[in-house]
Amino acid sequence: MSTLEALVAAARPEAARVITFSQAVREALAEEMRRDERVFVIGEDVAEAGTPFKVLSGLVEEFGPGRVIDTPISEAGFTGLAVGAAMTGMRPVVDLMFGDFLTLVMDQLVNQAAKTHYMSGGKLRVPLVLRTTLGATRRSAAQHSQSLQAWVSHVPGLIVVTPSTPYDAKGLLKTAIRNDNPVVFFEDKMGYTDKGEVPEGDYAIPFGVADVKRPGEHVTLVATSSMVQVALKAADELARQGVSAEVVDPRTLFPLDKETLVASAKKTGHVIVIDEGYERYGVTAELAAVIADGAFYHLDAPVKRLGAMDVPVPFAPTLEDVTVPTPEVVVALTKRLLAGEA
């Protein structure tokens, strides 16, 4: 912590510290595991290694290998296992190392976790949390860089959470663990070292409540997860150019806080929706439709979307970096939108 950060922290005991996104996730897990002995963590390399991203470092030391369980390499296996455990009174938190491996767990997640409550006539609940990652630009190429949040957002029976700050990560993960439904919780792998103020101790952020990350007047930038920082950087640049951008983070894709999105759109009359997944049939498509539906008569221009290009994520940095939205791209589109040229 820098001296300045320390002074700020001392002045505000409630928001006492600046910590990283991964520390916030770990802290939420540790606090929930202390509070509720039914909570356990299961996944590959979660114990001694504390995951390759070092998100869970120290948990096995406190809670032991019985509650921080290293698994065989079998994602479908441990996700299904979590369904069985959740259904019978436990609160598993599944660690799925890369979001790309959602492909491997879809049967358990979509055909079991999401439907057991319904198919059992409401008799069996599946309170599991599946934490996984999204995001490109880590030089991990096509099979380790995908942002597949749209896939699970499509499925009734699942809750989908996309925190963008350490504060949101801690508060939303607590809600996820306490929630009685299956929750898919996406963490931006490039944002694990991002820092932010996080209160010590307990607080929970309700699902379905968007957060205005930056108020503005001229344009609304609706951004999810990894794209919130991109939108905020774009808003900084736009401010220098005399454009006031409002940045709205839905925080949960399902349930979705339509009111906040629509209210912001009505206020500014110009909207760009940004998500790191593909545009086609994607998260941005749904959000744009919701906004167009709710704010149609207040919009001065069509709702615009930004997402990944329609290519598998390439490896070479020069290629990879241009496949996902950047602040420059957001700024350029905003200016065209406001000029009536988009």
Binding site: D45, S74, D100, L104, A142, Q143, V311, P314
Partner: protein, 365 residues
Amino acid sequence: MILESQLFQPFTDEPIAVTSESGEWIAPFELDLGPDELRRMYQDMLLGRAVDERMGRLQRQGKVSFAAPSGGHEGAQVGIAHAMRAGHDWLFPYYRDVTLPLAIGVPVVEFVAQAMGTAADPSRARQMPYHPSSKALNIFSAASPIASHIPPAAGCAISMKLRGTDQVTVCTFGDGSTSEGDWHAGVNFAGAQGAPIVFACQNNRYAISVGFEKQTGSDSIYTKAHAYGMPGYFVDGMDALASYYVMREAVQRARDGFGPALVELLVYRYGGHSTADDDSRYRPRAEVEAWRKRDPIARLRRFLTRKGLWDEAAEREAEAVVKAQVDDAIAQAQAAGDVALETMFEDVLAEVPERLVKQRSELLG
């Protein structure tokens, strides 16, 4: 099916070795490899090790984003490579294979360029480092999702059978990979179809930080072959010649129409899982040191020396050759420069779709 000519029994309790630690020939059959072939195996291992070490260094210098140390796996890999008909048989490797693709014939410059993602990479800078592929040499790209190459490998072998070729598919993977559903699906299919494929498991007893005891309740991998109706061979993978001979027999068996086999090669990775991994958190140093003493390169060198096929001068010369080869490959890979942006839009589909044409023109103006 047991063949008349077979040298090895499946399902042995002890790993098969044909040389002792000190390099004596201990097999009950006669060595039938000539001096050139033996020396070539040794040189291939030296090259694999040199590439591995240089890639690690390049990663630390920030010139490569990822490297998967393969030191300790060279004996198994060179044995697998030399048992195959390069460019005729198909190889479905995994990311820890370095000596293997190089020994099959992947030019060092291609391997390095692939890892660096430069314009000299035949896969056009689209795959993670350590995922080289070669259409010319029948090498499929390693899969970043563990074991997802196993069913395609089985499918490739079934295709060979349907088309009546005399090719064999060889598919490699680690011990951890055998826990995936895809592994079981692929191996089961190959067994049911009698497909000409050899599954070669490089068992280094770790999957990143997860030890073998957590991976499976079984104390071995080769015994799993039994349930899928194929022979399972247990091999000392630190013995390059044992790896070669067992693989050769399994490949020949598949080629002759007797179906698949599973070969477990006991190896060790000296380094971390990847350059990002701190293995001291889960592996005692004494264990690493004990395995280093069993080094497959040193073992084959002792064997060659005993036979009078190798000496200090040959070693010095071979090392100089390998170093020059690697230096040259790195220089060439770097000199090729970045891939052109417009290439990124090709190959998503057979033709560039309209949406991509639009995205390309937005990007390039």
